[in-house]
Symmetry: C2
Subunit: 346 residues, 2 copies
């Protein structure tokens, strides 16, 4: 008997599915008018994330509209540094701004003690969503990967060259690794707590994997992801764990080889045939329509989506984008994509 | 007898060299006080590029200081759209701003007729530099690749998601390809003219290769680069042609397989061992120290540089960065790197 009746979970556990499941990164977001209305009711962006009533509603909006196979909890990867006591601000149109962590003393001031308490609203959101979710839709939890969180925390936001984060990793590896160890622990605990609160699958976003120098990829990306996934699988063998080391290039094959991962999300630059030949034997491949094709819609979108389905759809796959939904995306294009994917037969 | 006595040219033509040659992307730039002084004498950035006296001096500054093996002409990839009549402005700290080209009519208004005249200052710069260059230093010309130029021209600058450029390529390939054909021609002509003016090697920068969806990589990156390189080699078989499809990931192997390329520049994410095993049989590999290591200097930089040399230095290689020099780089670190590379023996 199947562990789950939900197609998304079945696909990640390599069980037979009656259709290719689909969900979209940033499926809850500014492209939806109902999201913009909800957003206007919250104060700051983090208040929004930490108000279970609003965050649960944001999570459910795209599910009601499109009948997606997965609902990803509405939250942000920066709740972890925030819960550690780092100042995190979201300024409109600017991206996140953090008070940079750049010394061993800064690391020592991070508060691992009260994180759980601060993150409780996220778990309450999962609990609320779970109660209202359609029976076939799976609930997905997530966290940022240690390197990506470290990069934001050290740079104090996004960066052109990540020179502070990479410079520290190169100059004083043992100092830098103190932060990485704390983050590995925090990410693991946050994901375990999300599973306990009802998440049926979890995704780890290593959004800045694509800026790691080749020689550091094992240390900054593969090793922490392997440790986190191994711990999650030990406790919850039937909860799929998905990695998204965005922009990893040839590094994708190394993450696919990590036994504890059930799923690997690939960005839009990865040729589908390469993913089929090199990744799909090891993991369920998730991806990888270019979000620009979803903005375009029509024949261009359909052609690209069908090409991906023809190449990957007969192996274990979950349809997704290769990056998040772009705010200018017409919602009806998302509806058309879900219909196309659900109607496709290999 | 060797075609050239210059180590950089010898390395690209797979001839024996007495040391691993080195040059650095953005070796002429803001990290040098003499550059900042020179820059202050020019008006706008394009005026600077188009004043042969100043541009030649900027080209020569790092050669005098560091004894690099290659001098890349001081210019910009956006001189091509500018010479085609597109409005291009460089605003301090903002990056380039262009009046976007988004329709067939916009493409039709591009002026291929007077480009050569407008680009003459670049050729005059090469001519001046050539006269003052030390005997063992090779002069390098360059251009942006058609996709990268098209992306800037269509978006009107840099972009988070390149949705206008990619959207057009997906929606109306035959319209988009009209622009690509013009750019392929313009890039070819600009590189041929640089060779005629004294360039002994040329590099094509496909700086946005890393945002091309997998299914379009052949059409937007490989095909135009192949066409340009084939034409250059037909006319100038002994002038090395180097590609830098930045962020291409597994796409690097496809560019390496293009017979007309002598060199392939790799970004810092590419593991050196992978480049040795997959690229070096086909092309001279150029790269790929992370520019952050050059900001750090000291043992961190030396360790990374030696690791790259140990892995790639016995095949045909040219030492370079995996991206441009960061403005905060201490000049003395560049001196130390050149000394290390020149002193290394495999």
């Amino acid at each position: 008997m199947s562990v789950s009746e939900k197609p998304l979970i079945q696909a990640f556990l390599r069980e037979p599915v009656d259709h290719v499941p689909i969900w979209l990164m940033r499926q809850a977001g500014r492209y939806l008018p109902e999201y913009r209305a909800l957003r206007a009711r919250a104060g700051g962006f983090l208040d929004f994330c930490y108000t279970p009533e609003l965050a649960a509603e944001a999570t459910l909006q795209p599910i009601r509209r499109f009948g997606l196979d997965g609902a990803i909890v509405f939250s942000d990867i920066l709740v972890i540094p925030h819960a550690m006591g780092q100042t995190v601000e979201f300024r409109e149109g600017e991206g996140p701004v953090l008070a940079p962590v750049r010394t061993v003393d800064d690391v020592a001031r991070l508060d691992m003690w009260s994180m759980r308490e601060k993150l409780k609203p996220v778990y309450e959101t999962l609990d609320r969503v779970k109660r209202d979710l359609p029976g076939k839709t799976a609930l997905i939890g997530f966290a940022g990967a240690p390197w990506t969180l470290a990069a934001y925390m050290i740079e104090g936001g996004s960066s052109r060259d990540f020179r502070h984060a990479k410079g520290w990793a190169l100059r004083a590896p043992e100092e830098f690794d103190r932060l990485m160890v704390l983050l590995e622990t925090a990410v693991t605990q946050h994901l375990l707590s999300q599973i306990e609160a009802g998440a049926e699958a979890v995704q780890i976003f290593d959004s800045w994997a694509g800026v790691i120098p080749g020689a550091l990829f094992e240390r900054l990306c593969v090793r922490p992801l392997r440790n986190i996934a191994a711990r999650l699988k030990a406790d919850h063998p039937h909860v799929p764990v998905i990695a998204f080391p965005r922009g990893a290039g040839m590094g994708y094959a190394r993450i696919a080889a990590v036994a504890a991962f059930d799923g690997l999300s690939i960005d839009f630059t990865v040729p589908a045939a390469w993913a089929r030949d090199n990744l799909q034997k090891l993991v369920t491949v998730q991806g990888n329509l270019d979000p620009v094709a979803l903005v375009e819609g029509g024949a261009a979108m359909e052609g690209e989506a069908r090409r991906i389905l023809e190449t990957l759809g007969n192996g274990p796959m979950v349809f997704n984008l290769g990056h998040g939904v772009i705010p200018e995306t017409p919602p009806e294009n998302v509806g058309a994509l879900v219909e196309l994917v659900h109607g496709w037969r290999g």
